[in-house]
Symmetry: C2
Subunit: 202 residues, 2 copies
């Protein structure tokens, strides 16, 4: 029922937040394509692709210039911490996604996220310059998101590694290590949750 | 499937925004009760009740102390414009709604709303003090909301008057006029849109 101009894309990692914004859009009548950004350094999109397929969404890789990742990694190595570099990469990804054929683009940023996150002025500028609509989960806190997604989805929780994650972090780590630095000193070990399907009954 | 602790209430006017957050919660598995605040000055909840029933939601009136409205109207008359008074009333309404039996409360505040709106610190304080979760449409701009609701709902668009609106404005106007001021000088005439049912086929 939504017209073709309202082609919709969600920047997708396979995690809780981006899965929730995708399912909200679907239940509101859209047929969003789930997109995972990739910079040609490592095929880190496989976990996101599997998650997307487990939720019956179309999926595609958003292939982007390695230069974006290089510049983000420059910032991370200079800073000694990842925030600014990841924020830069995310904003470049959103800019590039906005240039495609989608009238609405979304990501899973939630209320309590700090980085990466577009502020209100950046969103307004993006929407005006690119003639698109952008949305995210900024009205939802993590507790509410947990309540909803635990009700809707099955998950796999694992120690994050480059085979089970489709976050920017995977390719960033590869590039840091390639340059002779230790990515493990910049990114602490952590657990990550990946959606693997609907709860039985949905 | 959602446990009883996650009883959910939406502060509801019958307009686009509060109808959208209500339907999102419903499609995510909750059974929200739609609540319209009333201060005992005028039975302004009837339009919201009709809208709620047209969307097959449970509805109730949130009966509140007239003193809240009085204090809001004091501010509006002193300021000569409604923003601060409405913001005060909305925040008192949210505080009172948080004291009821609901684990999750929501309103239809969207990204481009200025007033009334809870900022991030107010939300955090509310959630901590009241041990509840609060959500709104802060991730969505008005264009996206229009796109979605035009696809889901039927509307009636009319010049706003006290018989067809359940906004705070109705009782505020009554009280301003009761006090011998002219509410029409503070609130300009405007059109308002009320949800009257689902689009056929939904």
């Amino acid at each position: 029922m939504i017209c073709d101009l309202m082609n919709t894309a969600v920047l997708y990692s396979g995690g809780k937040d981006s899965s929730l914004i995708a399912i909200i859009l679907k239940k509101m009548g859209f047929n969003p394509k789930l997109m995972n950004a990739n910079f040609g350094v490592f095929k880190s999109y496989t976990p996101a692709m599997k998650s997307a397929k487990s939720l019956l969404f179309d999926f595609d890789v958003l292939e982007l210039d390695k230069e974006i990742l290089e510049k983000g990694v420059d910032m991370i190595i200079k800073d000694g911490f990842p925030n600014n570099g990841i924020d830069y990469i995310h904003k470049e990804v959103i800019e590039n996604l906005s240039d495609l054929e989608y009238g609405i683009i979304a990501d899973g940023t939630r209320r309590d996220d700090r980085v990466p996150k577009l502020d209100e002025n950046e969103i307004k500028s993006l929407e005006d310059r690119k003639n698109i609509q952008y949305l995210n989960l900024n009205g939802f806190g993590y507790k509410t998101i947990d309540t909803i997604v635990n009700n809707l989805f099955e998950f796999k929780k694992e120690k994050s590694n480059k085979e089970n994650s489709s976050d920017y972090e995977v390719e960033i780590r590869c590039l840091i290590d390639e340059r002779g630095f230790k990515s493990s000193e910049i990114f602490p070990e952590h657990y990550q949750t990946r959606v693997v399907g609907f709860k039985i009954g949905d």
